[in-house]
């Protein structure tokens, strides 16, 4: 059974009001969705709150889901839209502050983080939301370019350019932050 067929079975149960099936669906997609939300919001607590609202909305709207796309692209589209709305709402765009430069203070503070997971997440937090989002959609969630287009609403060429820039930016940020440890990039 393919992933999409498996999702379809679960979704049909959710449509019939089965909470256990909904729990299964949430458990399956919550971590990837959180990564996407963190790419945009740069704050895990806020991202979890937003994600809860998204999943409740998904439960409300799931009857209107007609399998015209994969469930995950539909879900991620909700996550991305809600996160960008939240970002606009919270005018204090912390991301813009971090856009182009990393201060030396920040660098030394961040460099204390030693494990690889923290390293990469720190670097992703310092990247532009669009870039971190596209990177995670493509590499972490393993979406195809067309699916990234569907989820983000960007054009295909913008996705490719953003992906290219994001890779360079991530490698550069990692080198700035952790120097020797990441030389092989």
């Amino acid at each position: 059974m393919t992933n999409e067929e498996h999702d379809k079975l679960i979704i049909e149960r959710v449509k019939n009001g089965d909470h256990t099936a909904f729990r299964q669906l949430v458990d399956k997609y919550k971590d990837d969705s959180l990564a996407l939300a963190c790419s945009i919001l740069k704050d895990q607590d806020l991202a979890e709150d937003v994600l809860q609202d998204v999943f409740i909305k998904i439960y409300d709207k799931i009857k209107s889901f007609k399998y015209q796309s994969a469930f995950y692209t539909w879900l991620y589209r909700f996550v991305v839209n809600k996160c960008y709305n939240e970002l606009r709402k919270h005018k204090k765009n912390r991301v813009e502050m971090k856009d182009d430069m990393i201060t030396s203070d920040e660098l030394s503070k961040k460099s204390d983080a030693v494990d690889q997971k923290t390293m990469i997440n720190t670097a992703l937090d310092l990247m532009k939301p669009d870039e971190a989002l596209v990177l995670r959609l493509f590499y972490l969630s393993e979406l195809k370019i067309e699916e990234v287009v569907q989820v983000t609403g960007f054009g295909a060429s913008k996705v490719k350019v953003t992906l290219h820039r994001a890779r360079k930016s991530l490698a550069e940020t990692l080198r700035k932050l952790f120097g020797k440890e990441i030389e092989e990039l």
Partner: protein
């Protein structure tokens, strides 16, 4: 050889807090409960309006019983009070139902 960026990203997976799903399901239950309560309150409002309309028509037409050649006029306030009592009891019953709702 696997792309180093891809490898790093795979290893960077963030995880939700351990009670994320439980919190979500509780939130969802509360939302559905609120929805159900709203439905019952709407039912209450409908019942109230329905009985209100009946009472209004009754007041307009007056009320009189004729039997064995005798005609007794019943004061309008009598049926109104009786109906008010019925409406009140219905409302109380629905209110209890609303309070007991457990999805």
């Amino acid at each position: 050889m696997k792309d180093p960026i891809e490898k790093l990203l795979k290893e960077s997976k963030v995880e939700t807090s351990h009670d994320f799903t439980d919190q979500l399901i509780n939130k969802l239950d509360r939302k559905l409960e609120r929805k159900m309560r709203l439905g019952l309150y709407l039912l209450m409002a409908f019942v109230l309006t329905f009985f209100g309309a009946i009472v209004f028509v009754w007041i307009q037409s007056g009320y009189q019983i004729s039997a064995f050649g005798l005609s007794v006029a019943i004061p309008k306030t009598g049926p109104i009070l009786a109906l008010s009592l019925v409406v009140f009891l219905v409302l109380m019953h629905v209110r209890n139902l609303v309070r007991q709702v457990d999805i």
